[in-house]
Symmetry: C2
Subunit: 291 residues, 2 copies
């Protein structure tokens, strides 16, 4: 699928990595990037993220075959409204947002009005680091990438978006926006919030200086996600409230079950509970992207 022109809207970790990966695999004759801040133009140029880096929406998206929205989710609909007037009919738009139901519902009709086709995406790759300097060409390598068609999705546009993610090295997985949001609430949003709750409660100065001295590698790994952007995660939480509440409740129920076993001093039951978790984790194997 050699594209004439691929445009990235926003060149942070994800947008920047798409630019690097697309150029590395010769996916498009030209890669353009639209950025917001003047200083980002030189940054992205020196990092080799795109052939053209611009502050001008019309220059960025004119003649693009494929446009990928890579900004925080709260800004995507507003940005789409700014770029759509400059897009040629038949252009395919996708995004990298961490939640899909709300975005797909907003962007699908907006794009359709101008003759463009929207298909939601969510590459399951990332880092607690942000910004174009953290971008890497292999970020999507072997990562699952959810693609979320709906009943009205244009079949050619869906094929273009799936082929795009395959070209970048990832494995497209199709599902509805609603199922996506339910599944990522459990395996992505919940772990993030648990890391924040753990960091926020254990590192509280009320526990004394020695508490921090005893935090070791296990604690470090269990709280790494808490480093992520509070603004970005505020928006993710706001756009997936019901599913996240359900995921928190499921987790609290599991933890409550363990609490009862400990309070009841049931060594065999505690061991069986730990063994069940170990078997689940061992069988999964932790084989994910960027290993």
């Amino acid at each position: 699928m050699p594209l004439e022109r691929l445009t990235i809207i926003g060149a942070g970790l994800l947008g920047g990595s798409i630019g690097l990966a697309a150029q590395a695999c010769g996916l498009a004759k030209r890669v353009a990037a639209l950025v917001r801040r003047p200083e980002s133009v030189a940054d992205c140029q020196s990092l080799g993220i795109a052939d053209e880096v611009t502050l001008d929406p019309a220059a960025a998206v004119g003649n693009a075959d494929l446009v990928v929205l890579c900004t925080p989710i709260s800004g995507m609909t507003g940005l789409a409204k700014r770029i759509l007037p400059h897009i040629k009919p038949g252009t395919v738009l996708t995004d990298v947002g961490s939640t899909k139901r709300q975005l797909v519902a907003e962007l699908t009709p907006l794009c359709a009005e101008t003759g463009a086709h929207f298909v939601g995406s969510h590459p399951m790759a990332g880092s607690e680091q942000t910004g174009p300097a953290a971008a890497r060409a292999d970020l999507f390598d072997k990562a699952a990438c959810v693609v979320t068609p709906t009943d009205g999705t244009n079949a050619d546009a869906l094929a273009t978006v799936s082929a795009f993610w395959t070209s970048l090295g990832s494995r497209p997985v199709e599902m509805s926006p609603a199922l996506h949001d339910r599944l990522v609430a459990r395996c992505s949003h919940l772990p993030h919030l648990l890391a924040s709750a753990l960091a926020g409660s254990v590192l509280d100065s009320a526990h004394g200086k020695q508490q921090v001295q005893l935090c070791s590698t296990g604690f470090r790994d269990m709280t790494r996600l808490a480093i992520g952007s509070p603004v970005m995660w505020r928006d993710i939480v706001g756009s997936n409230r019901e599913d996240i509440l359900t995921a928190i409740d499921e987790f609290a129920k599991e933890l409550g079950q363990l609490r009862r076993l400990i309070a009841g001093d049931s060594p065999e039951a505690i061991e069986a509970w730990l063994q069940h978790a170990k078997v689940m984790r061992d069988n999964w194997g932790g084989s994910v992207a960027n290993d």
Copy 2:
């Protein structure tokens, strides 16, 4: 502090790493290891964990200046009873157990009866891997090592144990057994149980095949600890029940607070909650051993 003879009781990850580290830094003229299974003798010898590897308690601890108990905590008191008759008066015993109150209370009088001195230790270093093959000479490098004297602790024995851990590259931190158990319940035992609860609940097959496909690097890191030995962790939980219940309750309270903010649709409050956790984690920095 060059010792004439250092004896390790049990040569798994921790015991094996002590043997390798002690030899690497010339801490003792002879390093002996007592193992339980005949096949471990050859394993430990080929890994270079000790100068002498034996199945015989008398041969292992005779003439030892310092004996380090490195078996799972549930077996330590029984093992101490088997080796103490063969120990010369004045020998210092320590251990590497993950909980201290119960062990210190049991081992201190047992050792005193035979003229030996017990001082509890807990090096804050480890891995989800087990066994002598996972041992490494630098495991304790820069790690905190809690040393837990009590009112009756022999001052020379305490100095020996602190100097021992310093020689292996770690930073001794003194505190009471009770404070140790309260602090590690929060920063070590709780994270482990959260990892197990997350793995056990999210990877449940009831959520369908696609759930597992979407688990990525964040989830992997947040569940790594669930790989640990269920038997070892059953015993840790059993020996620190009250402090672990308190730690679970503190965590559940923090998570419940977040749940109310999400249910109340309070973006500013959610952002502030996430920001607090980020600041705590950023300020700590995650600077721990074996980075």
